[in-house]
Amino acid sequence: MASAGAYGGREPALAVVGNPENRRVRLFTEAAVAAGFAAPRVVPWLDVLRAGGAEFGPHEVVRLDSPGEHPEVDRLLRGTDDPTRVEGGARWYARFTAAVGSLRGGVRLDDPAELAVLFDKRACHQVLARAGVPVPQSPTSGGAAPLRGWADLRALMREHRMPRAFVKPAHGSSASGVIALETASGGRLRATTSVETAGGRLFNSLRVRRITDEGEAAALVDALAPDGLHLERWLPKASLGGRTADLRVLVVAGRATHVVVRTSRWPMTNLHLGGARGDLAAAMAAAGPAWPEALRICEQAAACFPGTLAVGVDLLPATGWRHFAVAEVNAFGDLLPRLTGLPGSPAEGLDTYQAQLAALAGHIATAAPYPPSREHRAAR
């Protein structure tokens, strides 16, 4: 692991922008201290939002962590402090990217322009597709086709011969607002989602349900559409132990380091929807000679975001475990507690935070310069 001495004799001072009470910040702080760094300065998102920005010293190495799971931060970003509400994605995106842009100075482990892409599934899809990363076909890639509601959705599905599709809020995360949609002749339809409607408002529930009534599905899509929707072909996923499986692959400094297999009875594999961690050895065995290709694709996806130290790639194994496609790339995809790195990877034996700390020096050496702090500019 890199020691604090690896920075040209100057001790790097770590800073984290996050929600101080959140376990993400705690876990990173613990890992940093254990690795010989001084305890990171924690800059709360709440302060950033209230003050309209934050300043970092030229030698501060700045990590951004998720602004989620904080009612007041949520209220400022999304306009609601109810964490189960689905709406507000567009507002969240505008305010979050603005908040990121209000951070000044320091050496950054992210890139504001890349974050803006990572939190827009339509933009992210286009970046990946243009780089030759296998992705499910999408008519809304890069915002190509407008998706203003149910009528647009059905037209796009028809036009692109896409009877099964995933509909995702452009700025959502953790399956929030996601609908897996199947259609067939004779008006047959089935939507699988965790979204509940109550009093005209949308909530994420912990329960996946099926909708077969077109009117109900249409109302749901129409309610989600104003925040932006992304449409992707539904690739039949591989199974493992009788459950649908996909992979979360953390890529740190260009290398796939940590892999979690997620399995579910449902088309969505998120843990809060009843998904479970699957058996990595079984997944590797199922993929067989295709396994290195799976990791290579994740690294290829991460390479689209060279200014970001670590991304979590959601990789879909197609039925049979021979082909793969990237479903999403997550900027804050490193919350994988107690998981150690792949044998043979640079992160073997390290958790996701230790692996990033070990890769800091190399990343900083190549990081693009950032807008200097106001202080710095004033001194010039």
């Binding site: 896409m162 002749s185 039949p236 649908t244 021979r322």
Partner: protein, 320 residues
């Protein structure tokens, strides 16, 4: 409710090997023949290849006369149209498939096509065309028809479905399978076309058309209690080695009928997993059967009651 189930990994005692898709064939080189159960698939959605096309590539590369087990995976648009092309293709290859002993149609999981959306059809021409077949199975009950047949060699018949139409159940029941040792029917629910009633099962329970039957599974049924009650008094039970009433809506009522019926202590196993049996009745079942050496599976699995609007909802294991 469970939506998924795995692909077959073994069939007819042979490990299942997926036949290469067109784009993988070059990468993998020519296949090794024999000793495996081949699964041949197109894509259910947006397929680039017909099922006949996939089979033609298979037939060109593998000595069909050596093939003992075939598994039909997905065929194009299987949620819209039945396996006519599959049936025609296999009928066309009958003179070459001389060693075929095991055949399964529609081994797909819900990510490919959900079980209640699989459109089946009449597969019995395959039974007529392959008199040497010993094992036959299929998944999906939609549009399934099964006119009565006679087959001298068939030892195992499996129908996995969220609902087998009553007419198909009656057709199977009116068939003669003198060699059949294993019958496994996922009866399903009326929501998904499984509309048989317990009287339709009477021929199985009498067993006269199934003189060799040793393993009986009448399960995944919304009328599992009634099925259990009928089984409790069924003549066929005395010669069974295993009985499977799992995956359905089996409650204390059905379990009590089993306890009050003929002795089941001669069974090697009684599978009741996924059930709604209370602790007290479950204990009575254990006391009655386990000392006699019956392997009893009472795992409730994911059988969960829903209480809504004053109504208790109970589900079979596989519906949608």
């Amino acid at each position: 409710m469970t939506l998924t189930h795995d692909h077959l990994t073994e069939y007819g005692g042979l490990p299942v090997v997926e036949w290469f898709s067109a784009k993988d064939e070059e990468k993998n080189g020519p296949p090794t023949a024999g000793g495996v159960a081949w699964r041949i698939s197109a894509d259910a959605y947006e397929s680039d290849e017909t099922w006949a096309g996939a089979f033609a590539r298979f037939a060109a590369a593998v000595d069909l006369t050596q093939v003992e087990a075939l598994i039909v995976g997905a065929w194009p648009d299987m949620y819209e149209s039945g396996p006519d092309e599959v049936v025609e293709t296999l009928l066309g290859a009958r003179e070459h498939l001389t060693s075929l002993r095991s055949l399964f149609v529609a081994d797909v999981v819900f990510e490919q096509c959900e079980i209640s959306w699989i459109v089946q059809g009449d597969l019995t021409p395959l039974l007529a065309a392959f008199p040497g077949l010993e094992r036959f199975g299929l998944r999906g009950g939609n549009s399934l028809v099964f006119p009565p047949v006679r087959h001298e060699k068939l030892r195992e018949l499996v129908v996995q479905s969220g609902g087998i139409p009553a007419e198909a159940v009656r057709g199977i029941a009116a068939s003669d399978f003198p060699a059949l040792t294993t019958l496994d029917l996922w009866l399903g629910t009326s929501d998904y076309g499984g509309d048989c009633d317990v009287a339709d099962l009477a021929p199985f329970l009498a067993g006269t058309r199934l003189p060799a039957l040793r393993h009986l599974a009448l399960h995944n049924s919304e009328i599992q209690d009634e099925v259990a009650a009928a089984v409790a008094a069924a003549p066929v039970v005395a010669r069974l080695e295993t009985l499977d009433l799992s995956m359905g809506v089996l409650t204390d009522e059905g379990a009590a009928a089993l306890l009050g019926g003929q002795p089941l202590t001669h069974l090697t196993s009684l599978d009741l997993h996924h059930n709604y049996i209370g602790a007290e009745v479950a204990e009575r079942l254990r006391e009655a059967l386990e000392p006699a050496g019956v392997a009893l599976d009472l795992d409730r699995d994911d059988a969960e009651e829903d209480n809504g609007d004053g109504t208790v909802w109970r589900y079979v294991a596989v519906g949608e």
